[in-house]
């Protein structure tokens, strides 16, 4: 059976060059980078080369890169680290209501621990209004965290504008760039950010490794305590294999960015056009233009997401959904809720995220299979007759 992987926003396969390098590294190099003997120094060399590669991807300098166990930990470190370091200055944090759970739940944790958090709304495309940010800033605001692009609907936020506002008010600004780095240009200077989160496994590197960019001179307190690795900011013996893979993945992502951007965008546009043509009563979620090149997110009226996923899976197609049933959390997507979708359209959402694994035939295969699936599920849906929704574009 044809296998079509359309869940690149969830995770990506290892790039073959990343795979080879990791295997080569793993075979010969095992030292602890903190050891001063030759085994340790050899490992250190690889780690520092990877740090340079990651820095290059976002136009930072290597001293500004701190490796973590992934995007989640980097988000935690950025937010908890800033909150703790600036506690004396204030206790107010601004974020959006469509952040990844790594940001959202960390902010909620802080709310329970003496901080105040403003969760900004978004418009129906998932866009944060910079003016809302400006209005939310108070004298005791210490941090603003707004994601670069949303992982579910792909909307790209106006980071430059927001960071300018943050700077004017001398508030630290963090952005979660897990979904954008390697997909669209990410330049920490141009974006004007103080902190930026990266994750390796979204760019064809291994899972369980990420990084926080921290502008030189900015003070954070650690979240994980111990041996003082990563310049005392993140303790724990370094995940050397992961770091080496992440470095290579970052290098390749930077190298191929433009080409992959254009290629996946072309495929994505073909997919979106095809679905809107072939399936009635469907809407495209997210911003029509300001969106990630590889993201497509639809809501199909009357059908439930997990049922679509299972049906697609039986045809070899991997996708995801914002339906509660498709997640372990058993809560419908907070992102689709925030853009104002009614529950049945949240449950009827389907996200397809393209990547290196895909070609035109994949798209055509989906366009062949998906309409039948939606039809079948609609055929026994009790909602199908109840509430017709307008087919959106």
């Amino acid at each position: 059976m044809r296998k079509v992987y359309l869940d690149h926003a969830a995770t990506t396969p290892l790039h073959p060059e990343v795979y080879s390098l990791m295997c080569r590294f793993m075979k010969d190099t095992f030292g602890n980078p903190s050891s001063i003997h030759s085994f340790g120094r050899e490992a250190r060399k690889w780690v520092e080369e990877a740090r340079q590669q990651v820095a290059d991807l976002i136009k930072a300098s290597p001293e500004e890169i701190y490796f973590t166990s992934g995007g989640t930990e980097a988000d935690n470190l950025a937010i908890l680290g800033t909150a703790a370091a600036r506690r004396k200055k204030g206790n107010h944090i601004i974020t959006s209501s469509i952040e990844h759970h790594a940001v959202l739940d960390t902010c909620k944790y802080l709310e329970k621990n003496g901080y105040e958090v403003t969760f900004l709304p978004v418009d129906r495309y998932g866009m944060v209004d910079p003016d809302d940010v400006r209005k939310a800033i108070r004298r005791d605001t210490i941090l603003i965290s707004i994601m670069h692009a949303n992982n579910e609907i792909g909307t790209i936020e106006p980071i430059e504008e927001i960071s300018r506002i943050a700077r004017e008010h001398e508030v630290i600004f963090h952005t979660d760039a897990v979904q954008t780095a390697g997909k669209i240009p990410v330049n920490v200077e141009a974006l004007g950010v103080d902190l930026l989160t990266l994750s390796s496994h979204k760019i064809y590197g291994p899972k369980g490794i990420g990084a926080l960019y921290k502008r030189k001179g900015l003070r954070l307190l650690p979240v994980v305590h111990g041996g003082g690795q990563e310049k005392k900011l993140r303790s724990g013996t370094e995940n050397t294999i992961g770091i080496v893979g992440f470095g290579k993945a970052a290098e390749i992502a930077a190298r191929d960015l433009e080409e992959e951007h254009d290629r996946t965008k072309r495929l994505r546009d073909r997919l979106v056009r095809g679905i809107l043509e072939k399936i009635p009563e469907v809407r495209l979620n997210g911003h029509p233009e300001k969106r990630l090149p590889h993201n497509a997110n639809f809501s199909f009226a009357y059908v439930e997401g997990e049922s679509m996923l299972l049906s697609l899976d039986l045809k070899g197609i991997a996708a995801s959904s914002g339906s509660a049933c498709s997640s372990r959390a058993l809560e419908p997507s907070h992102v689709l809720t925030a853009i104002g979708l009614p529950y049945e359209l949240i449950h009827g959402s389907l996200r397809m995220t393209l990547g290196r694994a895909n070609d035109e035939e994949d798209i055509d295969y989906v366009l062949e299979v998906l309409p039948e699936i939606v039809n079948r599920l609609r055929s026994f849906s009790p909602l199908a007759q109840k509430h017709p929704v307008g087919s959106a574009g």
Binding site: Y302, V303, E304, G305, E306, S307, L310, L314, S323, A324, C325, S326, R328, L330, P332, P342, Y343, E344, I346, H347, S379, F380, S381, P382, L383
Partner: protein
């Protein structure tokens, strides 16, 4: 995630659809949690002569609806009332833990359909 029996019922759900002249109809669930299950029954001489269902729901909802109709069909109304969500899950060979709570409601919907039939029947008896 799901076992083979569940997947088989998901792929080929039995008895989907409406019964236009149903003796009773029952619906459970709501769009917030994302699972809705509607059951139609045709009662003849105290027996569930036909049982059909429609669902907006996840794999577990589709499969448990299907399995419920198979278990219920041909049973007496009283037996139908004794059929539990748990019986359905068991007949399916088990469901993932997080699915048991909200997606395994087919027996509840059946009970509602039977209640609906009873009410209609007693109303008809009243009228008679």
């Amino acid at each position: 995630m799901y076992n083979e029996t569940v997947m088989e019922h998901f792929t080929n759900p039995r008895n989907v659809g409406e019964i236009p002249d149903a003796s009773g109809v029952g619906e459970v669930g709501n769009v917030v949690c994302g699972d809705i299950l509607r059951v139609y029954i045709k009662v003849k001489d105290g027996v569930l002569d036909d049982v059909k269902y429609m669902t907006f729901g996840c794999g577990a909802a589709v499969a448990s609806g299907s399995m419920m109709t198979e278990l219920a069909k041909g049973k007496t109304v009283e037996e139908g009332l004794k059929l539990s969500n748990n019986d359905v899950a068991k007949a399916l060979g088990g469901l993932p833990a997080q699915k048991k709570h909200c997606s395994n409601l087919a027996a509840d919907a059946l009970h509602k359909a039977i209640e609906d039939w009873k009410q209609k029947a007693s109303a008809a008896a009243g009228r008679a």
